[in-house]
């Protein structure tokens, strides 16, 4: 389970969110909402360990977190299968056969990724999540440039595979993924007080 206590996060030297406290139990998803710039990406990156928190703490099983944004990390010179195999190797897994159908890329296996359409590329990028088999996913706008069919495909994967097997997902999205998820409105947590000794604020 993911537990967050009194977390404050900063972007570019300015604190954007403070006092975040929430728990996400196994098998549950949390949807982050809020206007652009409120700090959804910053929060997800902090939880994924890409940047340091300003204050507070968070906890989830070690080596179980994974981050995904709208950048696919797909190499256009490699085939679809090579792309997935690379991530499987990095995480010490194998590419399970079910992945190909779950993300509807079976027919594309031997295609060079550079020849894929934007939507196919996104599906390949998301299929990475099925390959690395991490329990706690931090997803930043995962459905950008996906068509309705692919969104349902991805939502099905999250619901029927990831969450059903006890996974956790924290998702920043504007689209209704039709998951049994709690929604966290971030705007009330927007930082108003200024944290001393952090970035620019030390100069005020």
């Amino acid at each position: 389970m993911l537990s967050v206590q009194n977390l404050a996060v900063a972007r570019g030297g300015a604190t954007v969110l403070t006092g975040l406290t929430f728990d996400v139990p196994s098998g549950a998803a949390l949807i982050l909402r809020g206007p652009n710039g409120v700090g959804k990406t910053t929060l997800l990156r902090t939880l994924a360990g890409l940047q340091d928190a300003v204050a507070g703490r968070f906890d989830y099983p070690a080596d179980e977190g994974a981050y995904a944004s709208h950048a696919d990390a797909v190499k256009s010179a490699l085939t679809v299968e090579e792309n997935l195999q690379f991530w499987a190797d990095i995480y010490g897994n194998s590419v399970s056969d079910a992945i190909w159908d779950q993300f509807d890329i079976r027919d594309l296996r031997t295609r060079i990724a550079g020849t894929l359409s934007a939507g196919q590329k996104r599906r390949l990028g998301l299929a990475r999540l099925g390959v690395i088999k991490r329990k706690v996913l931090f997803l930043d706008e995962p459905t950008v440039s996906l068509d309705g069919f692919s969104v349902r495909l991805f939502a099905d994967y999250l619901r029927d595979q990831h969450l059903a097997q006890g996974g956790i997902a924290v998702i920043a999205t504007h689209i209704d993924l039709d998951l049994a998820a709690t929604t966290l409105e971030l705007e009330p947590f927007a930082a108003t007080d200024h944290q001393p000794d952090n970035g620019d604020e030390a100069f005020l």
Partner: protein, 218 residues
């Protein structure tokens, strides 16, 4: 780690990977030098060690900005930072891939181009040895520079500005060893210094590279 190395080598050798560009650049620089300094055999063979080393260094520089920039653009670097391999290992692997795709081919091609510059045949072995010994340092230092400038758009020029001064000791000892060989002197001291720089750089710089990558990914 092996997977990352294999992928980087695969990417480098496939279409658009830029493999061989450095080699062609090396060839062109060496061909251009006689046009600049004149065709006299004595002059060319005198400056051949230095030209080969400077040209190899510039050729290695050429492909540095690809080391992290492409992975940064498509988001791979962020994912690698959260993957179960330490960024220090990523730094080592990236440098190793760069060395295998530029340093080694350059070292092998150098004697062939040495013929064009009337390099003393007795120095052929020394050219290969010094380049094999020195180019790992160039790759590791260059990887550090590439990590520093990964967040900078069009960082290629900045990368050169930062990396070239760092290349000075390697260049001095590398070229000096070959020159001593040509002059019939004992090249052991510069060779040892060159090896020392490479060993030190390979051992320590990946930590700085990883630290810098973390700073850039924040």
């Amino acid at each position: 780690m092996i997977a990352l190395l294999r992928r980087d080598l695969m990417l480098a050798t496939r279409a658009g990977g830029g493999f061989g560009l450095g080699l062609v650049f090396f060839l062109i620089v060496v061909v251009l030098v006689p046009f600049g300094v004149g065709p006299e055999t004595a002059i060319l063979s005198r400056i051949a060690p230095g030209i080969l080393w400077v040209a190899a260094l510039l050729a290695a520089l050429l492909s540095l900005d690809r080391i992290f920039a492409l992975d940064h653009e498509d988001g791979t670097l962020t994912l690698l930072a959260t993957a179960p391999i330490p960024l220090e290992a990523v730094a080592v692997v990236k440098a190793a891939a760069h060395w295998l795709t530029t340093g080694v081919p350059l070292a092998i091609a150098a004697p062939v181009l040495g013929v064009l510059l009337h390099l003393d045949p007795s120095a052929f072995v020394l050219v290969i040895v010094t380049l094999l010994l020195g180019t790992p340092a160039l790759s590791v230092i260059g990887t550090f520079g590439a990590a520093l400038t990964v967040g900078v758009r069009r960082g290629g020029l900045l990368l050169s500005l930062i990396v070239l001064p760092l290349y000075v000791p390697t260049l001095i000892f590398g070229a000096e060893a070959v020159r001593r060989g040509v002059d019939g002197l004992d090249p052991a001291t510069p060779l040892l210094m060159l090896g020392g720089i490479t060993a030190g750089a390979v051992a320590l710089l990946p930590f700085a590279t990883a630290a810098v990558l973390r700073m850039n990914l924040r």
